[in-house]
């Protein structure tokens, strides 16, 4: 994994989370936060993952994202999916 690639995916994750949770201040969207901690309900969390797969053109089952620990982990899973 290269640093620029991770930075690009992080930027997309932060942008998508911000768009689906517009009431959350940008500074609160951090890698150590789970979307649930930011106020995302189950439908919001589905929408975050589906939108990211769409924007990053990743074709993976949603169940690959069952056990997310936080946004950093989400970035890691997306990067692993991109490589596959």
């Amino acid at each position: 994994m290269t640093a620029p690639a991770r930075a690009a995916v992080e930027a997309t994750v932060w942008q998508v989370v911000g768009s689906i949770l517009p009431a959350v201040p940008r500074e609160q969207i951090r890698g150590d936060k789970h979307p649930r901690e930011l106020g995302a309900d189950s439908v919001d969390r589905v929408e975050i993952v589906m939108t990211l797969l769409d924007q990053l053109r990743i074709d993976r089952p949603l169940s690959d994202f069952n056990d997310l620990r936080d946004l950093d982990h989400l970035v890691t899973v997306l990067l692993a999916s991109e490589r596959n």
């Binding site: 439908v43 969390r45 589905v46 993952v49 589906m50 089952p61 169940s63 994202f65």
Partner: protein, 415 residues
């Protein structure tokens, strides 16, 4: 010869509570109600259980049959994740209290919220090879809620009731498209009922499994049906509805490959999907009966169907655990008339609305509905205010040596 649903009825109990009242009572975030997309949920009463729900859904269908047609019911299948015994089936009680022929074949199936759809397909297959002209099957999806504050937001989305389907070769309500189906299943523990007293659920795992199954079962459908696509092949869609917000997300997922604008997606949702959510938004999740409540909702609430020619509907059934099927069929204005005549909307409107304190009073009884007891008496007098003297309903009255006993309340008596 086409097979499918000749008649459809839903019984969703005698009591309900508003979702805002549930949220207020539990101190939940009211801002989440739009994503749940529900306004009420049905609540079980102490004299109701999977048997009474099933019988009370099916009897109005059977009462409309003449003696010969009634005798042609050769198969009874109950679909439930609310079984009363590990051996004796709910179907055996239902068979007795519906007064069906002793030559009728009985079966209970368990496949979470997918069970009734598999039972429908099995029943159609049985009828196709039956030697009896006009043979019919009765499939009844019946369940009760076992949720309290431990279920979090899911408590407000869990329903109580049954959907009854009369299956035969005069499929007025839904003519199945023969051979047009797709399945997708794998092992996951997303939600389950490990004991007769509570449910467990992993929200994200269940929603992701539902959506993966929708994608997988529709892909399998496309492999079997030439040129099928989700945007143009179906004038209507009805999906298993744990809560309306998930169906909305599922519709967005299905349309993503088409690159539509947000207003185009919203317009398509309003036209092809929203009518299916009207009744589920009033009951909560009826488990494997949910899809057939959604079908009834389409037929009674879609403006496109009155006086129209035949139209195709795509249906998706999902059961936790997990298993799923996407299939399709034909509906028309006769389907609308057949379902409208059952008065499902009126029955939903006639439920008694509880406040949160009344709901809490009932909850300990609801949570024990499936617990095996050697002997028990139901205090019917305590709850009689919920029973209408003009409406014939089966009620659970007692249990003796683990054998449940029921009585008919109302003017009609036994069928």
């Amino acid at each position: 010869m086409p097979y499918g649903i000749e008649a459809l009825n839903v019984y969703a109990g005698l009591a309900c509570i508003s979702v805002p009242a549930m949220f207020a009572g539990r101190g939940l975030d009211q801002d989440r109600i739009p994503n749940i997309a529900m306004s009420q949920r049905s609540v079980g009463l102490p004299f109701e259980d999977p048997v009474t729900n099933a019988v009370n859904a099916a009897r109005p269908l059977l009462d409309r049959l003449d003696e010969q047609a009634r005798g042609a019911v050769e198969v009874l299948i109950t679909s439930t994740e609310s079984g009363l015994d590990l051996s004796k089936s709910v179907a055996s009680y239902v068979h007795e209290y519906l007064g069906l022929s002793r030559n009728c074949r009985l079966l209970e199936v368990k496949q979470a919220c997918y069970g009734a759809t598999c039972a429908l397909q099995l029943a159609a297959g049985f009828l196709a090879q039956s030697a009896t002209p006009g043979a019919k099957a009765l499939v009844i999806a019946t369940d009760v809620a076992l949720v309290d504050e431990r279920a979090g937001y899911a408590e407000s989305a869990t329903g109580h009731g049954a959907s009854a389907l009369l299956i035969g070769d005069e499929p007025t309500v839904l003519a199945l498209d023969g051979g047009a189906y797709g399945c997708y299943s794998y092992d996951v523990l997303d939600s389950a009922r490990p004991t007769p007293e509570f449910d467990i659920a992993d929200g994200d795992r269940s929603l992701f499994a539902y959506l993966d199954c929708l994608a997988g079962s529709f892909a399998d459908y496309q492999d079997r049906v030439d040129n099928a696509d989700i945007l143009s092949s179906f004038q209507h869609l009805a999906l298993h509805t744990p809560f309306g917000g998930l169906v909305r997300a599922a519709h967005r997922m299905l349309l993503r490959p088409f690159g539509l604008s947000a207003p185009q997606v919203e317009s398509d949702f309003a036209r092809r999907v929203a009518p299916s959510l009207v009744y589920p938004a009033l009951t909560g999740n009826l488990c494997s009966g949910s899809l057939y409540l959604a079908l009834a909702s389409v037929l009674e609430n879609s403006a496109d169907l009155d006086g129209s020619a035949s139209q195709r509907i795509g249906l998706f059934s999902y059961g936790s655990g997990c298993s799923s099927e996407f299939f399709s069929g034909i509906i028309d204005s006769r389907s609308v008339a057949a379902v409208r005549s059952m008065g499902i909307g009126d029955q939903l409107a006639s439920r008694r609305e509880l406040d949160f304190a009344q709901y809490l009073d009932l909850l300990p009884h609801s949570l024990k509905a499936l617990v095996p007891r050697q002997h028990a008496e139901v205090e019917l007098g305590r709850w009689s205010e919920y029973l209408d003297a003009d409406r014939s309903l089966l009620v659970h009255t007692r249990t003796k040596d683990y054998h449940r006993a029921y009585e008919w309340h109302g003017p009609l008596g036994s069928p």
